[in-house]
Symmetry: C3
Subunit: 273 residues, 3 copies
């Protein structure tokens, strides 16, 4: 089911239009290149329609949101919708600022979002469920553990049905559902949230996988999560004594740039509910 997704991505090298924050934009571009996609960043209202008009996927990220950028996201999103390319939304810090919450609601209402991807605190904020969101990092009260997994899987499944899209929720265990199929991904490493952009990079990779593997956004998203998590494991294993999060960040890009479908199939830890 997940066979050949990376080969397909590297062969097609889909152009991914990103309207994203200026904190992690370089990491997103490098991770997209590492997985085989071709990134293009553009957020000015005067050009986003043209760029989405030649892209194969659109990645919308609410980090460091500016008011004017929401208009650009809607313009790009309508072009993407007309052309039938996948739109992926990352509601960074949505629980921390009303402007981001309103933007997320507008984008979900106006555009056929293919995948909503965030951490537990962000996804709960989107669902209007009480959460203790604090900034852009998931709150420690929002941990996904084997004990809380069934409940969270049911929550993600219901939200996917309500929003008519794939919902991908990152945590120690990731849960991805389109309302019909629901997956849990056990790949990953605790060091990943200790570098900035691990979530943003994953959103880019999800967009790339979905763009290159049309048909099932939930499966493409699950494969992207497993790939990114596996790269986190490889990146940690490659650390030498005295190395920390700086080397980990570089190793993560290294691992993705070398990953192939065989390694993904052997390393992926995914279960279906």
């Amino acid at each position: 089911m997940f066979d050949n997704m990376i080969a397909s991505l590297r062969e097609k090298s889909p152009l991914i239009h990103c309207i994203t924050n200026y904190v992690t934009v370089s990491d997103v571009a490098n991770m997209l290149l590492a997985c085989g996609a071709s990134p293009i960043m553009a957020d000015d209202a005067a050009e986003v329609q043209e760029i989405s008009g030649i892209a194969s996927g659109l990645c919308l990220n609410l980090g460091t949101l500016h008011r004017s950028t929401v208009d650009s996201m809607l313009l790009a999103g309508r072009t993407a919708a007309e052309r039938g390319i996948p739109i992926v939304l990352d509601p960074v810090g949505v629980g921390a600022a009303a402007q981001r919450a309103m933007a997320a609601q507008a984008l979900l209402r106006e555009l056929p979002i293919a995948v909503l991807r965030g951490n537990v605190s962000e996804v709960k904020a989107i669902a209007g469920v009480a959460s203790s969101t604090r900034g852009v990092d998931a709150c420690s009260a929002d941990l996904v553990t084997p004990e809380t997994l069934p409940e969270l899987a049911a929550f993600v499944t219901r939200l996917a049905l309500a929003l008519h899209c794939t919902v991908a929720m990152s945590g120690a265990i990731d849960v991805i559902s389109d309302g019909r199929a629901t997956y849990a991904v056990f790949n990953g490493h605790p060091m990943m949230p200790r570098i900035t952009g691990s979530g943003c990079m994953l959103t880019g990779v999800v967009t790339a996988f979905a763009a290159a593997n049309p048909g099932s956004a939930v499966q493409a998203s699950t494969a992207a999560y497993a790939a990114m998590g596996l790269c986190g494991e490889i990146a940690h294993a490659a650390l030498r004594p005295g190395q920390g999060t700086g080397a980990f960040r570089s190793n993560l890009i290294d691992a993705m740039s070398l990953l192939d479908d065989d390694a993904l199939r052997q390393g992926m830890k995914v279960c279906i509910f």
Copy 2:
């Protein structure tokens, strides 16, 4: 006096709201994560009050300044002031552009800045002292040497008294004073100014130390300087043959992500005047 500051930081993981330039923002975020803090970047006037309203520290940086950003800094700063969280100001390139000088003056006048942190050229420009500032790097005429140290320490002490805040001035030897206590930090490595963002990262770390260790901004700043300088020494010692500033930058984050209070206590080279 400096005991336990890193443990406190890692335990509290303070949320640090950064309104900062787009050149080094990723490095600042990664360095804040490495030292144990949780960064959030937001500069749009519509959301900065909310973000500073949940943060434990506010980091203002004048690099790549836009006119509208000064309003955001004032809005965030007033919220920070009401809540009593530390505000740290980095007047990047303040001697090179009138807009930055006016912004620095407005922020110092309107907000209870806890720490003003810059290189010698920038701090001199703030003080209105003749300097040969050139761009964002300290001018070579502004070197801090054992010979010029007493004079510069007196200068920083007077400026701290005049501005009613801690003044932290970076150089080959760093000088930090709140007007009462004045410290010199001898940690660091000449390679640090050869990567972009070493100053901006330090400003973030100073904010994090001050947020997690309230009570004495001058002591928290001094510890942050010693920690960052020590990481520079460790990062240089870890270079292998053929490695240069690229590896140094990654090593610097590595070192901070692994630093603890014992290593800081053993490695810090600080004297008090």
Copy 3:
């Protein structure tokens, strides 16, 4: 002819004013520092004239272009022109968005551009030659091979004469011409376009070489290309098993930070037509 260019750059440490995109800006700053220059980024209309007024070179990059930034580029450019410092233009993604094409035409018309630097797709778009530009990466139909080299060299030479500037076109083989002298640079490695910013970094390095070595922009540009390509070769050779594009990016900065004129002279693969 190319002797001593790096020594001259490191000795003068020219201040390079960059108005550039937010994706690769950190890489550009680090690469400028690595080659010996001092970067300053500023794009607000209120301060660009002051910054270009103290700079030794101006680097204009159309990536993530905003409408208001074109005005800043013109303001900075006119100051640069009055002062006689070199202006280098990188028309990132010019074939993908009308706004970028109009900006490039305006800048080429209004300012005495010293060097136009882009990939084959971008340079063809500037020339109005049919190309299959796609996003910000060169199209595979636009490969520079030994077979197509003579034709492309003639094309670049004609364009340089028409635009009255040096045109530097990146590809597997780079072609640089001012209409009189035309060079081909064979240095480089296929991994370079697999990281974001390799083109933007090169544009910065070209500006630095031209600023420190006035007199012949075409020779300074050729030396910058050879230096950057050689660093790509060194960066690839330094990769260990399991390392990919993450380490390559860091190695590239390492190599530039250690490069000297002897290594450049021995490693450069340049021919003149």
